[in-house]
């Protein structure tokens, strides 16, 4: 019984979500009215089932779930007090920092750290990831503070905490200030100044350039991609002590290129919303370019993956094993380029979500120094011993001179 209620509830919400993604708010209202029907259906089935002999123990949870469902539906229809309960506060903060996006950012930073040629240090690794996560959370809160009326216009974003006025703007900004400064201090003192500088740059780029640029120019996607490419660079710099060479740049390039098929496919189905809310996204202002860049950058990813062994980032097997993955990504982008509709764009978007983690796992498994007998650290240790010998020799030679 309980599962039945849950399933219907879940299906009801799923239907609502898929429709709201595709349609504009004008049609939305009709659908949201129709989604109210499953609720009454649930109540009816329970009323029938109550007459049947059911264990008393099972009854309370079902009643609770129904009342929860009612609450969820009603919260969109009724006036609610914007009182914050302390036990819900962490959830609001997670939403404010867009926990999923922040997780992705932290994972790419970890990948950057893991791929760097310097020896792995657990403390720095944790500090680097935590610092990046905090800065990302701050960036997302400031972004949401700026975007309230715009977010309210789009079905994808209309339920964010600031749009619902659950938190006040000053609360969100205080959270951003605390988490941002904590993150930057962690990066500066716990990792190194280069990583902290990269973090500060990204925070500025995202909140002050990218966010208003969405309404100004089509170039916003390119700026947004740079924002997406910096986190792996932060991880790389965090590991190497601030040195960024070709391998780090290639990794950043991969992340930069990945944003295009990912975002272009996502934005394709949101064109009515973007048009109304004033977002100058590529999918609306230049659909042809939107299709072409998605294809171009999947080819770019293929090329970069082939170049990875040349930068001493991975071994040659990486390029071979990653080829089918990239080929399929290219195939889906090609499909999207040939016939752009909600189906091809959704396929491309979904695959982009699988592609990135798979790419990162393959990168790590095929890391240059992982299997080939840790060539880099050995070279370093040899260098140190040579240096020591030189010092000893020079000190030997120095002593008689000073005498």
């Amino acid at each position: 019984m309980y599962h039945l209620v849950r399933a219907i509830q879940r299906d009801g919400f799923q239907i609502k979500n898929t429709y709201t993604c595709l349609t504009c708010s004008f049609i939305q209202r009709q659908i949201s009215q129709s989604t109210l029907k499953p609720k009454s259906h649930v109540v009816a089935t329970i009323a029938v089932d109550k007459s049947l002999p059911i264990l008393d123990v099972r009854q309370p949870p079902t009643v609770e779930t129904v009342s929860n469902a009612n609450e969820k539906v009603n919260s969109d229809k009724e006036w609610t007090e914007s009182r914050i309960h302390l036990k819900d506060l962490h959830q609001h903060y997670l939403k404010l920092s867009k926990s999923r996006l922040t997780t992705l950012v932290v994972v790419t930073t970890m990948a950057g750290y893991a791929m760097a040629p310097a020896p792995f240090d657990l403390t720095t690794f944790i500090l680097c990831s935590a610092g990046t996560g905090l800065v990302s959370g701050a960036a997302n809160s400031i972004n949401q503070y700026h975007e309230v009326p715009f977010d309210a216009q789009m079905s994808r974003t209309k339920n964010r905490v600031l749009v619902r006025s659950i938190l006040t703007p000053i609360h969100a900004l205080t959270f951003a200030a605390v988490s941002g400064s904590l993150g930057l201090v962690t990066l500066y003192y716990g990792v190194n100044p280069t990583t902290a500088a990269l973090g500060a740059t990204n925070l500025f780029l995202y909140t002050s350039i990218y966010t208003p640029m969405k309404r100004i120019s089509i170039l916003n996607t390119w700026v947004g991609s740079v924002v997406g490419a910096i986190p792996p660079l932060m991880g790389w710099a965090g590991c190497t002590g601030g040195v960024i060479d070709s391998g780090g740049l290639l990794l950043a390039g991969l992340l930069y290129a990945w944003q295009f098929p990912h975002f272009n496919a996502l934005s394709w189905n949101l064109r009515p919303d973007y048009s109304r809310a004033g977002y100058r996204m590529m999918s609306v202002t230049n659909p042809g370019l939107c299709r072409r860049t998605a294809l171009r950058y999947t080819i770019g990813i293929f090329g970069l993956c082939c170049a990875a062994p040349m930068c001493d980032l991975t071994n040659i097997y990486f390029s071979i094993t990653v080829a089918p993955l990239n080929a399929y990504f290219m195939y889906l982008a090609w499909k999207f380029h040939q016939k752009s509709d909600s189906k091809t764009s959704r396929n491309l978007f979904r695959f982009s979500l699988i592609h990135l983690p798979a790419l990162m796992i393959l990168l790590f498994v095929n890391k240059h120094s992982l299997w080939s007998g840790n060539s880099k650290p050995k070279e370093n240790s040899e260098m140190i011993t040579v240096n020591k010998d030189e010092k000893i020799i020079s000190s030997i030679f120095k002593t008689p001179a000073s005498l």
Partner: protein, 130 residues
Amino acid sequence: MNNVDSVGPPDPVSNLRPIKYHKPKHESLVERKLRLKRIEVAKWNHEFWSSHNLRFVKERDAYKKCLADKGIPTANADQMSEFYKDFLDRNWKTHLTYNFEWYKKNISIVRLMMNTNIYKAIQWTKKFKF
């Protein structure tokens, strides 16, 4: 309605949620200033998005009608995308001015909130007489 603001369901046209701002019994000057400013900004936002969204629906229907007159009863996604692009391009200036105007108003609200919080903190410390 106790001592907090309450938030309503989103407006069907402007998509913004109306807020009933709580008015304390002994409202200080800073609190009053903040409340009035928030009401003013909410009203301004609501007016902008109401007229903008209405215009969108109206122009979209007109566009569909125009296509229907040409002999295309239901417009496909590509034909609609032409309208979306056109509408976005025509409203570029409107959105630009609205965007920066909104940033200014939003910052002024935060400044007033800060003032209110400082004022409240001072009032609170006055409770303790040393």
